[in-house]
Amino acid sequence: GAGVSQTPSNKVTEKGKYVELRCDPISGHTALYWYRQSLGQGPEFLIYFQGTGAADDSGLPNDRFFAVRPEGSVSTLKIQRTERGDSAVYLCASSPGKVSPLHFGNGTRLTVT
């Protein structure tokens, strides 16, 4: 069946611009996670949703980062006034519930020039 889909796969933007990254989770998965991964590092937690609500957003670096999941399915990670330090691979994962594996997409590679 279909896995987690992330679009776009690559995004190049200029410093100061606004970007949106989209995640389509596996149908029926209630939990959705966003991570950021830099080269040679593990995934860094940003935010996770249970249904429509953000259960934990403690990993968002600052108020330029925001994520929504209005209908409990698709999620969008929004970054305002992008900075070069935001360049990384942004990974999305979904899970059917507690004590369940995460199913990852292949990420969006964001490059801020």
Partner: protein
Amino acid sequence: SQKIEQNSEALNIQEGKTATLTCNYTNYSPAYLQWYRQDPGRGPVFLLLIRENEKEKRKERLKVTFDTTLKQSLFHITASQPADSATYLCASQGSLNRDDKIIFGKGTRLHILP
């Protein structure tokens, strides 16, 4: 704060030997640990999950242990093959009651040498 540490950044193992990777955690007691494999340019792929009340879990050539006294999990690949070369990530969640987030270690890059 909760921390997961993985043994080393890169590990070279001769083909056919057993590869052993280490994951240590501090400042909390995870309800379970997970291991993932990540290939370049791809998202992590789930391999095994072990709960705090389980000592050992196996799946084909893979084995994972969980020692709550040492605060450590070991991940073993027996009869290693060049195709096992990848980065392996350890992940955990804290208390299920608190619905804690899942955090990852930095990962260990494994190279199986032919």
